[in-house]
Amino acid sequence: MHYDLIIIGMGLSGLMAAKTAAEAGRKVLIVGKGMGCLTLFSNTIDVLGKIPETTRLRDGLSQWIQDHPEHPYSKVGLTRIEEGLSSFTSLFYPPYIFQTIGDGNCFIPTGAGTMRPTYLIPDTMVAGASGKEKKGLIVGFKGFRDFYAGYVAGPLNWRGIALPLPETPGQEISATALSRWMEKESFRKTIGQEIKKNLSGETCVGVPAILGINDPIKVKMDLEEKIGVGVFEIPTLPPSIPGMRIFNRFKEWLIRRGVNFLSGYSISKASLKGKRCEGVYIHHPPVSSFYSADRLILATGRFIGGGLVAGRERISDPIFNLPVRQPGSQEEWFGKSFFDEHPIHRMGILTDSSLRPIDETGEPILENVRVAGTILSGHHCVNEKSREGIEIATGYWAAKKAMEQ
């Protein structure tokens, strides 16, 4: 099969690239070894959480771009970043939409008991945003081990309770099972009554982000009606239900647009001819299939998604074996805190301003390949709180640039 564009990687950057190309009417194949990391890390859309609390995002970004010329944001540029973000938000239609609070970052409570800055949040989290001034009740569920109400409530000086689940007392329950129950009116009735009984003067209720997969706004509004105060979701441990909603929405949209969507298969080999990639082999034992393309986008993520692999001495990209920026020796891979500017986050693929992979001298290595997402070098997305922003902006821009070719 031949495609205008093959995208390798099914995370947010790959999905954004696929959307951008499909919107322009191109024949697209998106292939991922797994389903990407949306269901692991993402709940909301971080763009640049590191900037001072009161700064407008636009000003913060523009300053950031000036100060960090090697950063992926600097390659994409402010206007394109904004275009990418609005392309992302346009995918979601009411009632489940993504929005900002004001024109900067907002702070939302997390399952780890912190308030974290983020930019775009789904409607289900709005009532908890910048909630320090409010008085809320945090509700967890016995048997759901991925969320502890007291842990979240403590630092806020709120109250946290754990409710027993009516249908499976004493058993463990997964996030997806709990989400599915939340979609049942009878379950909401029991839980709603229980929460209402436990209210003592609180004006809002925070629950783990499990308010259903298909119609979370309906679940939220119905619960609010039953309890009598506002309800909001709090991001917690994987699997992330809000991340699944994003993934499902992309998947639905892309399949409807005729994009070939292959999850579960890794690229065994890229076929290179001079400075061009002619296509890729997908190996599904015992069969190997070749897919050719005019252009390709590499959006395979970092270590968890499998985009970067650490051997004994060096870190590499297993598909194109592109140069990866990394410290000279393995001794320098280590740092004290993973969440600070840890050296492992420094590693990534070098590109020019149009996201083509380059060698140390700045020469493009492959003319028809672009690189998008967190696999790029020049960022510290964990520390900057910029993961989704980088994925959206570079996925969008890589596809735009690829189509110009």
Partner: protein
Amino acid sequence: MNKKPWPKSNPDVCIRCAACMAVCPVSRVTPLFPGPKQAGPGAERFRKTEDPSVDPWIDLCIGCHLCDLVCSSGVPISELNLIARAKYLDEKGRPLRDWLLTHSYLFSGIASFFSVITNFLLKNRAFKWIADAFLSIDRRRELPPYQSPTFRQWFRGHHSTGEKKIAYFYGCYINTNEMDVGKATVQVLEANNFEVILPPQECCGLPMLGNGNFKGARKMGLKNVPFLLKTIRSGVEIIFSSTSCGYMIRHDYSRLLNIPGSEEVAEHLFDLFEFLRNLRENGNLNTHFKEFPLKVAYFAPCHLRSLGIGLPALDILRLIPSLQIENIEADCCGLGGTFGFKKEKYDISQEIGKDLKAAINRLNPEIVLTDCEGCRMQIRHLTGLKVLHPIQILRDAWMR
């Protein structure tokens, strides 16, 4: 390559990320199954070949492969589960029911010949009650009726002509229970100038493999592969219309069952719509379709997704003018081959099915299309709607 008869797997490549927990249809509906992360790589680390199995919940894995498809670390989760299940069932012993459900190919010929009597019995409440009480085959489940003549018998009286030859692996169910799917396949291939031939064939063995009976499944594979090898070595490629049989032959025969020659067969074996899509890619597909104003919904079976070829039926059906076709946004149908017939699993099967039913209701189609016979049975059972194989619609949309 020197391969061991049993698959070698390494649970330690699992990084515990929980992507599989996001998609498992079983752990979503019942807390009795701990989900793929724990049941697969988690529990595997504690299993020793010489120790007895300790987790009866392993038998609740429905075998949909969805966990495998989302894992970024490449853990063969459903394979780990299947091997653990096989060991558990070997130790516990299998009821007569499991033998009956997985050996229907032995009596389907007679059942089809006496279809009037068979179908009377299969619908008879007393018979179903007995099957429920003594065999634990749930009486709420419809048992598929048999047809006479069989597809193969029909084909014997049919004179297929075309420029090139193509072989067809139709599978048991098409032969005795839904022969129109076979007929439609033959008609569509002939409309594209192919002469259809039917190589000798037996049940692919998937029902046995799905029930952890590796030995029985391997026996079926050893019977089929020589027939199929002979076909491809005479220069004829093979297509299948049942995605379950197709997945079994293309991938499980070599990877799980180590059947000699199966790798060569896999290279020349195609899904029917994958084959048609290749024809189209080369400009050789007959696309003389008439206006076909119908609202249909398409459901991608688990084994089709596991084939890793995308949704070729959807790609082809979209060429039909005026046909309104939407993809159903749901994962497993819940039948899981023989899983949903079993009394102790029927409720789980139905709970999984409810999510699919809700997704179908949102689309409100006139007809539902899906490539797998199991999914067709389950969707009929869940919705009461007319459910067809996509090839039947393609045949009907042809300009004559």
